[in-house]
Symmetry: C2
Subunit: 115 residues, 2 copies
């Protein structure tokens, strides 16, 4: 996970691996992301540092601590969020996954870089 | 990764998650596994504790330390191995992946359990 030191942007996943039409991505997270869902793709979050919260539309929020993971099923609207701290997170998801799913926002990254 | 405490068997992957027709598995490794390959599946190894060695047929061996990962492409024969120590490893691979690929051995586990 040394590759986390290669970039500083928040909410901008970097691709570090590819297998079976899936990408492994690293992402630095801080504060709130936007609400979105991925119509066809399940998404795995795995936290390497800090605490990540995933909010759901039923007012439930799931806390993911270091060494824990969560899979958000396709079609489920969610909002990743941190409590002001920097969180180091890994994503596993299909190559077809769009950054902000069905939503287009200022935060949307359309072309992800490999590191 | 607390789920590593739920089992003791070596070289017996336990399923902890499913997404996009892939499984996330945890496995405890010690000493040598057998040479094998997976004809149709790339396989990701991610080490949470210890040092894992993956041997290849060209006499090369790749060392994977804690917090590092390696993807073995489909069709590439490989042998996971540890230097006598217990290694905690995560696997990410398609649900179709057979434990020992094209090889059937005493170590082959045909039905994996969820934990």
């Amino acid at each position: 996970m040394d590759k986390f030191s290669l970039f500083d942007e928040k909410w901008t996943p970097k691709i570090v691996g590819e297998l079976n039409d899936q990408y492994v991505k690293l992402c630095k997270l801080k504060d709130n992301f936007i609400w979105h869902s991925h119509e066809h793709e399940d998404e795995l979050f795995m936290v390497f540092k800090g605490t990540l919260y995933i909010d759901f539309r039923d007012n439930k929020s799931i806390e993911i601590n270091e060494g824990e993971m969560l899979i958000v099923p396709k079609g489920v609207e969610h909002r990743p969020r941190t409590n002001g701290e920097l969180v180091l997170n890994l994503l596993f998801e299909p190559k077809t996954t769009k950054h902000t799913g069905q939503v287009d926002s200022d935060l949307t990254v359309k072309k992800l870089d490999w590191i």
